[in-house]
Assembly symmetry: D2
Homo-oligomer: 352 residues x 4
């Protein structure tokens, strides 16, 4: 058996679960040894239970795993959760109580006072909420660590360096989100071919709140949310992968588009310093061409782990406007959880 | 011969020109008797010169017209211009000088001090610029009257009643624009399938300036632009017809989403009062469903002549946000010019 | 109350059911007075039960109808059935037994020996199966009359005149079918954006068999299927409405593409002779342009009730090849049932 | 300077030219040292002349090359030609006359009696036409070697092993082709969104003839075309990359779908035996799932160099039907030329 840490995937047959399995194939630290899903598929061989929608085949080491039910009886210590929000809340909590560390993609616990909502480049220190969480919930070795909503991820990544350097005061964001963000089967083709759906349930609220928690500061007991207003409008468009966002910001300190571009280009942080395996070389990539980034051409830059920014310019209403793009199912979901797990390991939280 | 006014169409083989011909079929006041286009097609029968891209056939009365070159020798008095901006400037001016009235879709003269930029529901009184224009340019009976850029049209229509009632102070708008807005052949399929293009040349500037001219006031000699800031971000999406816009506004007077909705619903103006043939019964349609309007389902409401608004709600950064939709090639282009011509006729400007 | 015949719609909240309600709005003979759907929605107001996906609003006369369960207790005598095949078989049979006339879109009874599978232009005489059916099933006034699978409809329409005139011997057909053919939610967008799905469950078998029943002949007791082989390959493509089919045929008598085109152009039959309200003026429309028909531009010709054919040319393997197009949810589904009902009425089958 | 063979790319700024440059990046044998294009761009730096549409950046070694005009003055000995057919004929011939070896993607010379139309897995021996060509055209060291039309490539690949083993007698094929096959800007988005275009100029003729040349046999002086009829119908669909083809074949010897599947699965040929760098491990990949292959998910199997086949089953009209898929701009264009060049090198044709 390899020296790697065995991990489990919750919701393993779903869209996010599949992406976990794909991204963890050949991972230097982790190895998927357990897959769990709904009662309906429990007991089946993974390859028989899943409607595999990735472009590469099911990793051979996972094909024959027997799908387990999502109960605390699971054997792994570390779990990546792609569970649907309708069941994630309780299931993840039960696992944490039985000593498991759960890396969750679901919205259920993100805003819990004692649950860290982590983007390693921005708030690695929020992991200090783990002892708070363990004390409060009486967890023995278990923990829930969350990553943000997919659209929030890229917005927060762009705002993080700005906020640190210039203090963000107001943010406008309009998203044009890919259909893969809605999972599978997700958005019916009749709803999106030749169409824009100007509404994604709960998404605007998530962006308006999660961003402020991520960019908030740990005060020893909890997180003081960042003190700026975010206004989000979220739209679904006929794109397979990649959320595009049109952003406008007001900041306190005066600066220029060039200075902001340079700040983003040179941005490097904890995951890069620690050499985490999934850390993108450039967390933020700035493109110069006036009509980029575009999801179809740019979404896979740095293996889908970067936030791509372009069109930085003055805004007649706030201070600056720009366009950003990120891969919603990689950096915006499964890849984010994996990077969080790598941070946990590097920081010693995964030792038993 | 009918009692109708004969009109000519400039750029008759292009996308906007075709739409003029389609919309004018069976028009109660106007009849297309002359079609003009580039030298390359001049002399051909219209049906042979055009690559007809409308869903109904070429009107029989137009099929056999001989395509004319765009020169002042054209016979009609009234012209609808779908000319490309690269040639519209001079061609339209030459026609005006020779006594023609040109209803122009092109950007070239929209911001000329003496050229009215008209949306009949909002600024019918700006037609009073015509005598100014004639005096200044020494025109004998000729005139250039413009309608706005397509994206601007719907934004201005939404803002008009708001501005009159509550005074608009700031506007933030992000568009998701249909490919038909780029004409034909326009956007290559390889650029837009599964993609968003976050840039449309010159579009943001048009929205930021034209809106303020339209909602400005005539001071006897020219237009005092409306005094509010607009910030626009324009995107192309894989939609055939219909521009969707996510808007946020700050207004001076306090109000509520319900009051705004009611204001829009009950909005009626000059074209409705005059019973202009192309006037939509409801210039603004407000939809209640939380995920509407959507271009694929709603773009043809009121024959594509209305502005459709939904999701009116509070904005954490400015005051209110909402989504709007309009048919870019009908109300946003050819239909707008036709409505302007109807207004001109009703106001007596078309008498010779 | 109007003089119209009251009718019911089964599966009224589904995609086909909605299309029935839309197409029957303002119908000169029929009026929807009853809507039935699954137990889950029974008891609700129609407007509350349905997720309406048509581009025009729910007809006012239907909005407030209470959704009924699909049982023989329904009051109408005539039913249009858009029921899912999983339940249509028994439900339609029960209704027929209780004296109802069911116009069915479902595959369940199409191949029953005693059930007519009708395309009024091709086999109106197959209605003579109704007395056979009533005798065999001991029905008192009730009956089941079916229309074909959507892809089969257009193929049969093209083959019908050919078979009568020249005797069809072999048929090869490859379809490119719209997503609306799969109902709602139907095809997930992740499966079809930028994709072709080369498989539609059961569709090829339907085309290969139903075509031969439709073009068969009534022998006094049943239908002798037409004696030619059909080979079908069915694909789903990213088109909203309109099935395109590439067809090649071998026929017995020698002829030319021009003669075939003329045969199709001049084809008129029972529904046109009877002046049925939904009968297209031209059951078959032949287009000359070498790149037509195309679903996006041509699917609504003759209100979606025609079969559009183009590119008639010699085939190096069989005799002729051509392309055809039809509106799958109008002539290929709801419109077909309505035309069948009109035929029934004209032939006196709807008198009580 | 590296030990690699320097090569030039003709039509280097076009869609196929870009693909050559991308696929040749890091090639073990060849290195792009010269780029040629139209007069309009000649003299510019490549990065400035090109509108680069690949998902990875321009290779650094090519960025700064100066674009040359397409004349015999070019320095390289080996050229990959992505020239448009409107100029390829003469330009390629001129280069051959001046001693260059031209690997051509263009249709112009494919059917010349003395020009090999090569698919290395199927007819490597057709390279023996080169001496015939040199003699006939009085070429000193130069030669034109062509690869097939993109749609033909995959059909020929599927038919090759069948023909050798069972003797193909008749072939039906209907294609659903990606927009990238039309180059850039290529298909306007207004023509293909939500649409099928049932016509691609010249494509059907190419498939019907080229297939028979490729599978023909060299008789010492020329090629005896394979003696079977092909009937092709070609359609454009809204897919970015990957041509899907529905095929039906009649063969002389009796066999079963399983036997055919096994024949294809085990097919290996010259490029695999020679270990050519671009040779796919499996020239033909057979998929078992009933709804595959699909372009969006399967087009990149074996780096886009394989032909993917599925749904092998009996055909009621001919003998067998199946679906195939191939990457039109890789194996169907640039990758095919590169594999041909590798074969030429392995066979000693590139020694000076």
């Amino acid at each position: 058996m390899s020296e790697k840490l065995g991990v489990g995937v919750l919701g393993a047959t779903g869209a996010v679960g599949q992406k976990f399995i794909k991204l963890l194939e050949g991972h230097p630290w982790f190895e998927v040894r357990e897959v769990a899903a709904s009662e309906r598929t429990a007991g089946k061989r993974y390859a028989d239970a899943v409607s595999w929608k990735q472009t590469s085949p099911i990793p051979p080491s996972v094909r024959d795993l027997e799908v387990q039910p999502c109960t605390p009886n699971l054997r792994s210590r570390i779990f990546f959760s792609g569970l649907d929000a309708s069941i994630a809340g309780e299931a993840e909590e039960d696992l944490a109580k039985s000593g498991k560390i759960v890396l969750s993609n679901s919205r259920n616990h993100r805003l819990d006072e004692d649950v860290p909502l982590i983007i390693p480049e921005l708030n690695a220190d929020h992991l200090d909420l783990i002892p708070v969480q363990r004390a409060k919930r009486n967890l023995k070795g278990g923990a829930i660590v969350t990553n943000s909503n997919c659209s929030t991820m890229f917005l927060a990544m762009a705002l993080g360096p700005l906020h640190k350097e210039f203090t963000v005061e107001r943010v406008f964001v309009v998203t044009m989100q890919a259909v893969s963000g809605a999972g599978y089967p997700g958005v019916p083709s009749l709803d999106i071919l030749g169409n824009v759906i100007p509404y994604i349930g709960g998404e605007e609220e998530k962006m308006e709140v999660e961003t402020r928690k991520i960019l908030g500061s740990f005060n020893g007991k909890g997180i003081d949310f960042a003190d700026f207003a975010v206004s989000a409008q979220c739209n679904r468009v006929a794109v397979e992968d990649g959320h595009t966002e049109a952003v406008s910001v007001k900041i306190r300190r005066r600066t220029t588009p060039d200075e902001i571009a340079e700040l983003w280009r040179s941005f490097c942080s904890v995951p890069q310093a620690l050499g985490l395996p999934s850390a993108p070389e450039h967390p933020i990539v700035v493109m110069d061409s006036q009509d980029r980034p575009q999801p179809r051409f740019d979404v896979n830059i740095c293996h889908g782990m970067s936030t791509i920014i372009g069109r930085i310019r003055l805004c007649p209403v706030l201070d600056f406007k720009f366009v950003l793009l990120g891969h919603n199912t990689i950096r915006g979901a499964a890849g984010a959880s994996i990077l969080n797990a790598e941070l946990l390991k590097a920081r010693g939280f995964l030792q038993s």
